[in-house]
């Protein structure tokens, strides 16, 4: 693991998201609770909708384009829809959000 600081937790609205630009594409950083964050691909596998613009509920997000719902833990589409988005290790340390840079790099190689 190589943790990269990407910002303060307060910069992401509660039950909201912000976008992180990376070499593997846009990553959506979600804040589902005061100290609960997730990072997943920002791109819905259905029609490419920006997931960071979706409604965040529980530990899930609903795509703003066609209401696909993804579990942020697993990246799996819920309900009748079949699809998967990449998930990235992310953590909160002393009020700062950190993402695992090694994974982002690995994926860029692959």
């Amino acid at each position: 693991m190589s943790w990269i600081d990407i910002g303060a937790i307060d910069e992401v609205p509660l039950r909201g998201a912000r976008v992180l630009k990376t070499n593997v594409g846009c990553v959506a950083v979600f804040r589902t609770g005061p100290d609960e964050v997730f990072a997943v691909s920002d791109t819905c596998p259905h029609k490419g909708g920006p997931l960071s613009d979706g409604i965040v509920h529980g530990q899930s997000v609903t795509c703003p384009l066609h209401n696909w719902v993804f579990d942020l833990n697993t990246g799996q589409a819920q309900g009748a829809d079949a699809g998967h988005i990449a998930t990235y290790p992310v953590r909160v340390d002393a009020g700062r959000i950190q993402i695992d840079g090694s994974v982002l790099r690995q994926r860029s190689v692959a």
Partner: protein
């Protein structure tokens, strides 16, 4: 050569046998059907809704004389069979003998009458068939008191129906709590409380000594010597199989007519089906096993192998508002454990009985949404050790963060049973949908699912929705979503009456099943709260769809559209210049004139939004809310300013209305138009509110549509002055805000409440009109402001949190 089949009794079981038989082998049988009742077959389970007035007899007919005739069945309705002669193989009816090769006895059951004095008095009736039901309806029409003997399933449905019809009802029950065969004490208590709230008197441990009366029933005397006045006495004590014909014919009979698993009696040419049978000591009173028997019998008659097995059954009570569910075995016992959940404030009780890590029984009251899921666990003997801690919270809490309301239904395997009455599985419903049955009625017609007791209707609709997606419209009486059990209307009402002023309060007090709702309920609840408590409740952008959160319309490629407001469709050269500059500066690929008389800049990148808004703000323009469930546009014609036909200043009125209404949130979008004369160039008669100016004043009309539906507005009132036209419009919009279901356009809402209801409040009742206007003004003191100006100051919200591509390059 057709086989001669005689069927005695046209009930639900035999009706189903004949349906199977004539479907599969229409030409092989010469069928004669006797029925003592002078009519065909109807859905007996639905007699209670007929009694309560929620349904009519016509609605519950399943097989009428025409149906039988179409299938070539000779009907002898109103004719009782008096004997079966097994030697000559004939049955004897009043209208003559009929020979048979195969005979089906489906005589059903007779109500049990307790042997007390006075039991034969007029005014003492049982509850078994349509005649009983009609007798009760007639008696209830005269009012007075009714006593129902025994508080079981049937008795309570009768009591509730009579109470709804205005009678003063007392239920006498021998046991310590109601429905003791299906419920435990706690659930029995809640049921009693709910029935008492409806004004029904419940007496438990009450034993009937006699029915008193001279020429007809007048009162009931209890063992305790208490006397209860009674114009009507309903005996709902129980049923016993109708076995007289079989006994007389010398067939083997125990409590019912004894049959084997192929439904054959002790005579190989005589079969029995339904409530009259006794299968290994089991009697049957609910419809699901009867339909199983019917299928087996039809197959036996056609020579196909089939065997009837006794299955667990679940019970629901059909009394509107009393939600109970029971299944399996819930007696206490050694090695058995209970999981109990109570919510006293909401009157909810759930109890699960476990044995060896299996669920063996479930009793639920007040919230039975998960009943079928628990019933499935009982039937399948699923090992529940893993989910034991969250088991009682139902399927939504199993297997991680499952929050999509339909996911539970979507996850069901094809063989999962949806309709218990008819034994219809999910797979059969999905096949029917694929074959073109795309609404509930068609599913009922083709599969029978939800066509009997109807309690699985919600599930069937969910299967429809899962299968059809957006093309299936859920009926309106559904819960908002899987997060709760309440309809939009209920939630709105409770937010007002219980003064709930935060989403957390709503989730907690109304028993949300998810942590913080979902994309369906959150925007609705957010709107209801801000509409009812504009001062106390703070709008939650995270509960809004992206368009309303970002104050721009998301496009299919993730870019946005920007539409500045043009009041009444009037603009200036300066504004147009600023728009042109903005289009150049932000590389706007498409500039379009909208139907609402303004200009749409399409294809703006999310990160550019605060900047383009700032530029437009500086030129004096504000958000056009082209993205919101709120006031969109007020379309106008040029009225008296330029037009030689204009009768009033339609442009001026349009601008005044837009300046008054803009920024307000509404259940769905609101579009207005003002035309200066009846030529109606502003197309006002298809808007949510349309005003047509005439010489004498202003014709205000509402509830038009020109989208999914096309509908002309309906006249609300004619206003003499411009101010009155404005007042009527504002009051109408506020009434819509206060009462409509989220995402109902005004025309849908008016169709539900009725235009007269709206007129009473907006037009006739001047105090109410004043109150509505004041409430709207209060709300507008918070919301009549430009969101773009505010968001233009929050540039960072629209930018990436960080850009790792830059770091990697270093």
């Amino acid at each position: 050569m057709k086989q001669k089949l005689v069927v005695i009794g046209a009930g639900m079981a035999s009706g189903r046998v004949l349906e199977h038989l004539t479907d599969a082998e229409p030409d092989n049988w010469d069928i004669t059907l006797f029925n003592a009742e002078p009519r065909g077959n109807y859905n007996r389970i639905m007699l209670s809704p007929v009694l309560s007035g929620e349904k009519t007899y016509e609605e519950i007919i399943t097989h009428d004389a025409d149906w039988y005739a179409a299938r070539g069945v000779t009907c002898r309705f109103g004719e009782a069979v008096t004997a079966i002669n097994r030697d000559t193989k004939t049955v004897h009816g009043a209208g003559g003998d009929v020979p048979y090769e195969k005979l089906v006895i489906a005589t059903g059951s007779a109500p049990f009458i307790i042997p007390v004095s006075g039991k034969d008095l007029p005014g003492v009736i049982t509850y078994r068939d349509l005649d009983d039901t009609n007798a009760m309806v007639e008696a209830a029409g005269k009012g007075g008191s009714a006593v129902v003997i025994r508080g079981g399933l049937l008795g309570l449905e009768a009591a509730a129906g009579l109470s709804l019809r205005g009678m003063d009802v007392t239920v006498l029950h021998l046991n310590g709590h109601l429905m003791e065969r299906q419920l435990d004490e706690s659930a029995g208590y809640l049921l009693r409380r709910d029935l008492e709230k409806r004004g029904i008197t419940i007496k438990t441990q009450a034993s009937t000594k006699a029915i008193l009366g001279k020429d007809r029933a007048e009162a009931v005397l209890l063992e305790s010597d208490e006397i209860l006045p009674a114009d009507l006495v309903v005996m709902a004590v129980g049923i016993r199989p109708e076995i007289r014909l079989a006994t007389d014919a010398g067939l083997s009979v125990a409590r019912g007519i004894e049959i084997d698993a192929q439904m054959m009696t002790s005579d190989p040419d005589i079969f029995a089906v339904g409530e009259c049978v006794d299968f290994n000591g089991h009697l049957f009173g609910l419809v699901a096993p009867l339909y199983d028997q019917a299928k087996v019998l039809a197959q036996t008659l056609m020579g196909d192998p089939a065997a009837f097995v006794v299955k667990d059954i679940a019970t629901k009570l059909k009394v509107t508002g009393c939600d109970l569910f029971s299944a399996g075995d819930f007696a206490e016992g050694e090695g058995r454990e209970d999981i109990v959940f109570r919510d006293p404030a909401r009157g909810i009780y759930k109890r699960l009985v476990l044995e060896d890590d299996r669920l063996i029984g479930a009793v639920m009251y007040g919230d039975t949404a998960d009943g079928n899921w628990f019933f499935g666990l009982i039937k399948d003997g699923t090992d529940i050790e893993e989910m034991r801690e969250t088991l009682i919270f139902g399927p939504a809490y199993q297997g991680g963060g499952q929050t999509d309301p339909l996911s539970a239904v979507a996850a069901l395997p094809p063989e999962a049973e949806i309709c218990g009455c008819n034994g219809i599985c999910k797979g059969q419903i999905v096949e029917a949908i694929a074959a073109g049955a795309t609404d509930l009625g068609a599913i009922k017609a083709t599969t029978k699912a939800s066509a009997s007791c109807g309690t699985c209707t919600g599930l069937v609709e969910q299967v429809l929705q899962v299968t059809l997606g957006d093309s299936f419209q859920m009926p309106t009486a559904q819960p908002i979503c899987g997060c709760c059990d309440l309809t939009h209307e209920d939630v709105r009402r409770l937010i007002k009456s219980q003064e709930m002023k935060s989403q957390e309060a709503v989730w907690q007090e109304l028993g949300w099943k998810t942590r913080n709702g979902c994309h369906v309920c959150r925007p609705a609840v957010n709107f209801y709260l801000l509409a009812d408590w504009p001062v106390e409740y703070l709008d939650d952008p995270q509960s809004r769809f992206v368009n309303e959160r970002k104050h721009a319309n998301i496009q299919k490629d993730g870019t946005f559209s920007v539409v500045p407001r043009m009041w009444g469709g009037i603009t200036t050269a300066d504004e147009l210049r600023a728009i042109a500059d903005a289009a150049d500066k932000y590389n706007v690929p498409t500039v379009k004139v909208t139907g609402g008389q303004r200009i749409d800049l399409l294809g703006v990148k999310g990160a550019d939004l605060p900047f383009i808004w700032d530029d437009l703000n500086k030129a004096g323009m504000v958000s056009g809310h082209a993205y919101s469930k709120g006031l969109r546009t007020v379309k106008t014609c040029v009225g008296t300013d330029h037009c030689r036909f204009g009768t009033q200043d339609s442009t001026g009125l349009g601008i005044k209305l837009e300046k008054l209404l803009w920024g307000s949130w509404t259940p769905h979008k609101v579009k207005l138009a003002v035309s200066g004369c009846p030529r109606n160039c502003a197309e006002a008669t298809c808007k949510d509110v349309g005003i047509i100016c005439v010489d004498s004043g202003y014709q205000v009309s509402v509830a038009g549509a020109a989208g999914m539906d096309l509908k002309e507005t309906e006249g609300l009132a004619v206003a003499a002055t411009e101010q009155e036209a404005i007042d009527l419009t504002v009051a109408f919009v506020q009434l819509y805000r206060e009462n409509a279901k989220y995402l109902d356009r005004a025309y849908k809402w008016v169709a539900k409440v009725g235009l007269d209801w709206v007129k009473e409040r907006v037009v006739d009742d001047l105090d109410e009109r004043k109150r509505l206007i004041a409430a709207f003004d209060l709300s507008q003191s918070i919301y009549r402001k430009d969101p773009w100006a505010e968001h233009a100051q929050q540039v960072e919200r629209y930018q990436p949190l960080a850009d790792l591509t830059l770091e990697a390059a270093e």
